[in-house]
Symmetry: C2
Subunit: 332 residues, 2 copies
């Protein structure tokens, strides 16, 4: 978990002013009346097994069951009236879809979500349930982006990107403002990395609020693009991903996310899919909370690395709790 | 939901001084450093469906995953040093076993738990995990009581009764002190009834803290002994019980519980087993929390009776979250 100071300075210059701590503070002033201030949970057993004081930021209790509502709402709040009147569009097979759908509903504007036709029906229904229109497309990222571009050209919708967007990143970073509200010192912050929206917002906030914190991004081995990108100091794009953590199935982080990660994240590490199910089971059986695979990734990394960290105060972000019934039967 | 004033006065005289509000306050001074102050949860969706402002007291987040730790600890705290040195015994196939085991462990004393030999292995392991000795017996209540009596005669153990005990009842009543800490007015309090320990403690506390609250005890139709007892104004003992709510599989409430119920509980109502699974599923899918069948009984009763209550402020106690994996697969 080491960093190269020269490189750090290089990135520091590039990221400057792209997104600042005050953007996240502003986002929280927008979001505070609307988001759930999710709890910081802990477990005697987990602390005793790992030899650390560990807190879980439970974004599975956030509206729509995941942190995604924060960024989506903050992004839509930043649009002009004319943009909002024209409506928004997003492509997502998962939590971002529901985050955009709910945020749009609260603004009373039209949202169109492009979803692959093999999406889990509960997620499609959830998205429709918030009043969004769902447009189906093929299963590849390219097909999704093509369909989204078509809709933007045709109807003048504004794209709500799932991760590569400054206002969205600022919204996701409010997770850490809430952590700071509950605890004033942290040695480590573990955050899962999909496209990099959550980790980049959290890293900016954490480095401003917790002077000595080390921010650790976590991926699964089957979708380790950020891990490779961090080491190679360039954006690595995977040609295929394979992980049960569906929130991690992005082929690469966004350019903006990448630059923030290079500047503010101290290390990116990986866990295997096999580490996820026991962690979900622990949350379920011992802590009585429902955590989706991606949500268990950061906590599982704390568990896995606990021999190297002892007596530390650690926070791991549980990104969400929207679990497929089929997977639930598997952990039961 | 009506009461007979003459009968109320009759029971009032009998219950007097058996257990008072100050016993519950004292219990909380003992328990406060040890119990989790469990959250009061709410759901926009549940409120909107039921037309009420509903809070769930989440005792599934209590230590051992259920409220039972409160009463067990308060009871053991009330024993003499000599009694504690001799050790305690309890018979239970469920949460009371783990409550007694953990409380005994914290006091550093010996606990022996008599369990039917067909107990769910996770509960047996849980009980052993807290350091208690498990003694197996046959599957009937009579066999359990006989084995327990034998152990008491042989070793001088003190019985920690699962419900018919004043100190234990006072401990369970601390649930309502915590509710009062979070909200100062309630129209209704819904509490599940198994042997009656939780409802009797909660009713004494609620009638002292919330001047206008109506306390509603809830059972399942397949174990409706308290429902019948309340109506017949005598303890009705069932010859068989049949419900998925394992915490309700008692054939009758205790005499002490019965007298408190007659004095302080405004009505006892029933729901069917079919009401339980959808409620568990709602907690799981929408609120991301794990609730056991008995824990879903009071919330399900709020749902079922919501046409008769509109615009009310209601609290329903979730008694626990220790769910069998087999049942989990069923709701998934």
């Amino acid at each position: 978990m080491s960093r190269d100071i020269a490189w750090k300075n290089f990135w520091e210059d590039r990221v400057e002013n792209m997104i600042s701590f005050s953007d996240i503070e502003h986002a929280y002033s927008v979001l505070k009346p609307l988001v759930h201030k999710t709890p910081l949970l802990s477990s005697r057993t987990f602390n005793s097994i790992t030899g650390n004081e560990v807190y879980f930021k439970a974004e599975n209790f956030q509206r729509i069951g995941a942190f995604k509502f924060r960024g989506a709402y903050n992004k839509i709040a930043s649009l002009t009236d004319a943009q909002r009147r024209a409506g928004v569009v997003a492509h997502s097979s998962g939590n971002h879809a529901q985050g955009v759908a709910l945020a749009a509903k609260l603004f009373g504007i039209k949202a169109t979500i492009v979803m692959p036709h093999d999406s889990v029906s509960s997620k499609v229904e959830g998205t429709k349930g918030y009043g969004a229109e769902v447009v189906f497309c093929g299963t590849t990222i390219d097909e999704r982006e093509k369909k989204t571009d078509e809709l933007i050209r045709q109807y003048g919708y504004t794209l709500i990107h799932p991760y590569n967007d400054p206002q969205l990143i600022a919204g996701q970073g409010t997770v850490v403002l809430e952590i700071f509200h509950d605890t004033k010192d942290l040695d480590y912050l573990f955050v899962p990395i999909g496209g990099g929206g959550l980790v980049s917002g959290c890293a900016v906030a954490a480095k401003n609020l917790f002077p000595n914190v080390r921010v650790i991004g976590v991926e699964t081995e089957g979708a380790n693009d950020a891990y490779q990108s961090f080491r190679e100091k360039r954006i690595v794009k995977l040609t295929k991903v394979n992980t049960i953590a569906d929130g991690m199935r992005t082929s690469s982080v966004g350019p903006l996310n990448f630059e923030i990660i290079m500047k503010y994240v101290d290390d990116v590490i990986t866990i295997s899919d096999d580490d996820i199910l026991p962690m979900m089971k622990f949350f379920f059986e011992r802590m009585k909370i429902v955590v989706e695979p991606t949500g268990a990734v950061a906590p599982a990394a704390v568990m896995k690395n606990s021999l190297r960290m002892q007596g530390k105060k650690i926070c791991a972000v549980i990104s969400g709790g929207n679990i497929d019934p089929a997977l639930l039967r598997q952990i039961a």
